[in-house]
Amino acid sequence: MTVEEDGRAAGPGGTAKEVRRLDRVVIRFAGDSGDGMQLTGDRFTSETASFGNDLSTLPNFPAEIRAPAGTLPGVSSFQLHFADHDILTPGDAPDVLVAMNPAALKANIADVPRGAEIIFNTDEFTKRAMAKVGYDVSPLEDGSLEAYRVHPVPLTTLTVEALKGFDLSRKDAGRSKNMFALGLLSWMYHRPTESTESFLRKKFAKKPEIAEANVTAFRAGWNFGETTEDFAISYEVAPATSAFPAGRYRNISGNLALSYGLVAAAERAELPLYLGSYPITPASDILHELSKHKNFGVRTFQAEDEIAGIGAALGAAFGGALAVTTTSGPGVALKSETIGLAVSLELPLLIVDIQRGGPSTGLPTKTEQADLLQAMYGRNGEAPVPVVAPRTPADCFDAAVEAARIAITYRTPVFLLSDGYLANGSEPWRVPEVDELPDLRTRFATGPNHTLADGTEVFWPYKRAPETLARPWAVPGTPGLEHRIGGIEKQNGTGNISYDPANHDFMVRIRQARIDGIAVPDLDVDDPAGDARVLVLGWGSTYGPVTAAVRRLRAAGRSVAQAHLRHLNPFPKNLGEVLKRYDKVIVPEMNLGQLATLLRAKYLVDAHSYNQVNGMPFKAEQLADTIREILDAQ
């Protein structure tokens, strides 16, 4: 937390309280799964976005919907980093921890640096609750928190007190304590409050009493900050005016951006969007979101299983839809055979994989990048599939549009590899104008495309366009183009079943050549000094922490180049040349070195793999340290 300037401002009540100006703050709300921490975080985020700070968020919650109350596994948290300049990560460590119970304190204290502020709900620090998580003596009393600036606040009691006028039981009134905490934090950081109040009234429109209770608790929290002496200082973080290009902005999460990208791609392709999906964490939000947009002609089909989800999507693709299936790693495993069929049928299909910790069920609510090789190779036979990966939550929009472009243009299934961190994290997004989005319109086949030796005009379903090697998309309902396709090897051109050895060899190679030939933009390398000898190359959601780490090093006078891959298959044409330019290539990944393996195999480059697979995104400081060590060793 950087303090730039101190000042004093008079509060509305006439009490002059100190106001400090900060350039950035990291707040973590932590509590029980049932305490509403995600909602609290979302609201603070929304207030912060509309205030105009740059921001980045990290929700972190257990897979269990309601783990046993008060236990360590049941702790749910939401971290938010906001600043007056552009930022790239949700922050390495919180400046402020809000701990709603002893478990939340215990689970999070290791991440909180000395000197940070900790706000406790003292009502929950009962002997029993503390014993449950192994505190024999209250941490509030044993001196273990001396290095922190602690604010013990009886959040529950204060909330219940504030809601006395409402016809609510003590228990029900106490539920609004998260809004009290939100109000307090909103005061501390001068957040605008109208949006939260209108949100609460809308959310509880059917229960106006509950809506008013929450608004009252929220205001009580604000007023508490304003009046109590414990909170002597409040903070201002100015809007990030210079961080953003001109335009209209909103805050957006990765899964929402991805959903919008799919709707936008379908609109720009003038194709109906069809989603076949089976619920799975952390991808289900896309199914939920798309099911709301039926007025765009979007059809969402919740299938009986993962296989049927992609099967239905493939059927819709045959019928001429922009077809999508959404899932996470275990679902991809089940869909593999159908992806192979889509490769053989050469039909457009998007496979959205919101990666999570694996193998098997793994860590459903935590992030990981370990499905890259599954996406690349997880099928029988030679079955190449293009792979596209977004780098930030908002970038999920553009990545979805790009994946659709490739699928439609080249008539191929395409993997879109997001992950749990991008899916649930959020950041400001410049809303694009519709007409700046790419034109994705394509042509269905309408008539014969081949002339036989005897002059007969015929339709050949596997006759390829010379520039893309894509076959025609001939949808049922088109007279004269009746044809049969299937998973058995087929003769190039006619598409008839063929077991001919030479034809199979040809078809395997041409399917590969079609994917290898996909036009993707060259890789940009960021090397402001121009003399870097070390390149840091990442992909997907590591973009934020890698960029933050590189900035720190450059700020310290070190020279390091950075590049980030969006296209994992095919790689950009200049990638080999880029890699050879540097003495050392560092590849940070949230897996055990999957991209590094691909780079080593394809480019014979001694890529230095740096890996973390703990279910959490990299921390910028830790990455910076690693890169610094490598620079020092050069």
């Binding site: 953003f244 002609g297 839809a321 694009p432 309902g477 009746e482």
Partner: protein
């Protein structure tokens, strides 16, 4: 683009013949396979539909029967094992202007694809599913299938199979199917008649076709085909008619007043009035299910053929299309710019010293 209207597949303008439905591909089933008879019957029946050929799609899984689409001069997809109902569901729900047929076998539909089959049936998607049941795995050369009788000696069960078989008709009725029928490959008239009723049915129609595999399970349905044995074996179900069979209808099906179950009796003057009159259209599946249990899985005695159940209930793809229409009525046509913008934006101004302001 595909039409969004609710009308069924467009009618063809020219009258078509069976020949129009024959593709140019060489048929590659074993000589003598029951599939030939079914193919001929389907090709012969298709013109009756009066549909434009380009609006008909055959989707299949894997197995001998699943080669079927290659031989039909319509749109077709030979997909992967067991998944045809799922793929066809995607096609039928996104394209209501198509007449979508699924061709599957006992292994494809009831073993590897069992899940997709039951869910297609309960949803009542507009699909016509032809289940070729030969009670054996043919394409993999003769292992027992989920409809093989207990004790079946095959390559994978040298001491006899241990699995109790599925009765596909019972399964379909249990899975909330709105149309369930059974027919036999060699009885072209009956087969065609059942196909006609299936085609006319709005929603999912399941037609089990007993089909002879002359290589690995020859004569599996002989009891139903041999004229003499058929007297005891075949019960022809016709809606609105008493369920009687045997020489001169000497036998009939009655409900046991004590157990409520169905049983076969010799028809007499006394019990004549108790003989069940087949009602395929009744909403309750109880009697149709009981009928499906009459057959002895080993001897095939008392095997009903014909339409067990044909009832109307809402069709999934129609409901899905209705929701899209309702959404447009309520929210208006989707406006992409409005969607992307949402309700909570702020603007960063161009120029030096630019400011941000909330748009709300």
């Amino acid at each position: 683009m595909p039409s969004e209207d609710l009308s069924p597949a467009p009618r063809g303008t020219l009258p078509l013949t069976a020949k129009d439905f024959k593709s140019d591909q060489e048929v590659r089933w074993c000589p003598g396979c029951g599939d030939y008879a079914i193919l001929a019957a389907v090709q012969g029946f298709m013109p009756e539909l009066g549909l434009a050929k380009e609006n008909i799609v055959f989707v299949s899984g894997i197995g001998c029967s699943s080669r079927f689409p290659y031989y039909m001069n319509t749109y077709g997809m030979h997909s992967i094992h067991g998944r045809a109902p799922a793929i066809a569901t995607g096609l039928a729900t996104s394209r209501q202007d198509l007449s979508v047929w699924v061709v599957t076998g006992d292994g494809d539909a009831l073993s590897i694809g069992g899940n997709h089959l039951i869910h297609a049936l309960r949803r009542n998607v507009n699909l016509k599913i032809l289940l070729f049941n030969n009670r054996i795995y043919g394409l993999t050369k003769g292992q027992y299938s989920p409809t093989s009788e207990v004790g079946k000696i095959t390559k994978s069960t040298p001491m006899g199979s241990l699995d109790a078989p599925f009765n596909p008709v019972s399964l379909a009725i249990g899975a909330e199917a709105s149309f369930v029928a059974r027919t036999v490959d060699s009885d072209r008239k009956h087969l065609t008649d059942v196909l006609r009723q299936a085609a006319e049915h709005p929603g999912t129609a399941l037609v089990e076709i007993y089909q002879n595999c002359n290589i690995f399970n020859d004569g599996a349905f002989e009891a139903l085909k041999d004229k003499e044995q058929a007297q005891e074996a075949v019960i022809r179900l016709e809606h609105g008619h008493p369920i009687r069979f045997g020489a001169d209808g000497e036998k009939g099906v009655v409900r046991n007043p004590v157990t409520g179950d169905l049983e076969v009796v010799a028809v007499t003057e006394e019990n004549l009035s108790r003989v069940l009159v087949h009602d395929a259209h009744t909403a309750s599946p109880t009697t149709a299910f009981a009928l499906s249990r009459l057959a002895d899985p080993d001897t095939l005695h008392h095997t009903p053929i014909g339409v067990f159940r044909s009832t109307e209930r809402p069709v999934y793809d129609t409901l899905m299309a209705d929701q899209l229409e309702t959404a447009v009525e309520k929210q208006g046509e989707g406006d992409l710019a409005a969607l992307l913008t949402g309700n909570d934006t702020w603007t960063v101004e161009r120029r030096e010293g630019r400011e941000r302001r909330a748009d709300r």
